[in-house]
């Protein structure tokens, strides 16, 4: 099976030089569903940031989608990011754009045609049950609705990899279930690799998943 992520002796730290992840070795198969857990401050979000290139490895090697992220150029990083869908804990929606335009963002960046873009956005808005709110701005929506928009945006361009940081952290049951269903759907139907950082793994998932735990800077698979 193809590896979508490969890490060898990967060390991550911020500018204060405190090592967050220390010489980690792991690889993730294409099309797998992964949960990453760990105590607060253990480095879950830091690891996720390194996977989309916001934090460059200090030591070791990290290859995502065939791109070595240590010392990666901006153009290669942009290329990689165009094939990744990211869901942030704080949604990161563009406040001055309507939710429709927010969902369109990865499609515009990837150069989709206008007609295709509109169809895809309409379809996603239906999936996240927000069709009737398409003209609204993010701040006019509830937290759960904003997270559903962020989810739709992450799925819009059919990415090879979805990275989700606590996607259901502060959501009600209805919105949480909708998010899990979408992630499961992308994984099962489109063979998208899904990596979710979370405190709690939901019990009613219908997909096979792998579980990694971060503790004291090390990453271990939980069997």
């Amino acid at each position: 099976m193809d590896k979508v992520i490969m890490a060898q002796d990967l060390s991550l730290s911020y500018s204060n030089n405190e090592t967050i992840i220390n010489k980690a070795n792991f690889s993730i198969d294409s099309g797998s569903f992964i949960f990453i857990t760990g105590a607060s401050g253990s480095g879950k979000s830091t690891l996720l940031k390194s996977l989309y290139g916001s934090l460059k490895p200090k030591q070791g090697s990290l290859i995502v989608g065939g791109v070595e992220l240590r010392g990666v150029s901006n153009s290669k990083l942009n290329f990689l990011r165009r094939h990744i869908g990211i869901v942030f804990q704080d949604y990161k929606l563009v406040k001055e754009w309507t939710i429709e335009k927010n969902i369109m963002l990865p499609l515009i960046i990837n150069g989709y045609e206008k007609g295709v873009t509109q169809n895809q956005v309409d379809s996603l808005l239906k999936h996240v049950r927000l069709k009737h709110q398409s003209g609204k701005y993010p701040l006019e929506l509830s937290g759960g609705e904003q997270q559903r928009v962020a989810m739709a945006r992450a799925l819009a361009h059919n990415p090879i990899l979805i990275l989700a940081d606590e996607p259901t952290g502060n959501l009600d049951d209805y919105s949480s279930q909708l998010i899990w269903n979408l992630l499961e759907g992308a994984n099962e139907q489109l063979n998208t690799t899904v990596i979710v950082v979370t405190h709690n793994i939901p019990r009613n998932l219908n997909v096979d998943y792998k579980h990694y735990n971060i503790e004291y800077g090390s990453i271990h698979e939980v069997v």
Partner: protein, 270 residues
């Protein structure tokens, strides 16, 4: 309303800058016209014992633009009390020659001093009247006016620079988040900054149009025309082609520099 607010702050800052630029251009133009007026009205009189060739005088300095020999008839007319025609002719021959020198520009006191030295090298020139007292007073007034304009320009520069930097901070705050989000989805730098540049150019054009309208109104105002007429100065307050080009170029250049500084200073949040 939201869109209006987005444009308002930069447009106002730009209009202030463009307004200051055009005011400075008008003041500068007025100064030049005033100097030209002074130069036209100012002349030096030289008295020579014998007739001189114009070129001989012109060769002394590039500052001299024209030499006119003054007729002795006026002087003789004043003495016209029973002098015969023959004596008049004799008197004409014995009288020294008077020349009026017009200059290319209104000279500084040191330029007059130098010119005086050069002219006195011609042996026949015995006296030079440069009206130095009147000239010095006018020249000092001109210098004072120039200094005031220069101080005004410095103040305008400082204020507009502060305005630009204030605007820069607002823009950085306003656009950073969107640019960071777009970067996270792999948008190349030109796409991330496209909105910023579009906004900058649109605002620059709006500011240019507002300032253009303002100065068209000012230049046709009877009050302003009257002020210049009182000073006997005839200047173009707003040159439709040149000034419009300067205003729009300044406006667009400033906005693009502003946008570029934001793009260069943008750092992705980690």
């Amino acid at each position: 309303m939201k869109s209006f607010k987005n444009h308002f702050s930069l447009v106002i800052a730009l209009v202030s800058i463009l307004f200051s630029i055009q005011i400075f251009v008008i003041v500068d133009r007025t100064m030049e016209a005033y100097k030209e007026n002074l130069a036209n009205n100012y002349s030096i009189i030289i008295i020579s014992q014998k007739k001189l060739q114009d070129q001989e005088i012109l060769d002394q300095s590039e500052l001299i633009s024209r030499v006119t020999e003054l007729s002795a008839d006026n002087v003789i007319e004043r003495l016209n009390s029973g002098i015969t025609e023959k004596n008049k002719e004799l008197l004409k021959l014995t009288l020294p020659k008077f020349y009026k020198l017009n200059l290319t520009q209104y000279p500084s006191p040191s330029q007059i001093k130098n010119l005086r030295k050069k002219l006195l090298k011609i042996d026949s020139i015995k006296k030079i009247e440069d009206f130095s007292h009147n000239h010095d007073t006018t020249y000092k007034l001109l210098l004072l006016f120039k200094t005031v304009v220069f101080v005004f320009a410095i103040v305008v520069f400082v204020v507009t620079t502060l305005l630009i930097f204030k605007e820069l901070r607002i823009w950085q705050f306003k656009h950073n988040e969107r640019m960071s989000i777009m970067a996270l989805f792999g948008a190349p730098i030109w796409l991330r900054s496209a909105v910023l540049f579009r906004l900058a150019i649109v605002d620059a054009i709006i500011a240019g149009i507002i300032t253009f309208g303002l100065f068209i109104y000012i230049s046709s105002s009877p009050l302003i025309k009257e002020q210049f007429e009182n000073l006997s100065i005839n200047i173009v307050v707003f040159d439709l082609i040149n000034d419009t080009a300067v205003l729009f170029t300044a406006s667009i250049t400033l906005s693009i520099i502003l946008a570029l500084m934001i793009v260069i200073g943008h750092k992705e949040e980690v």
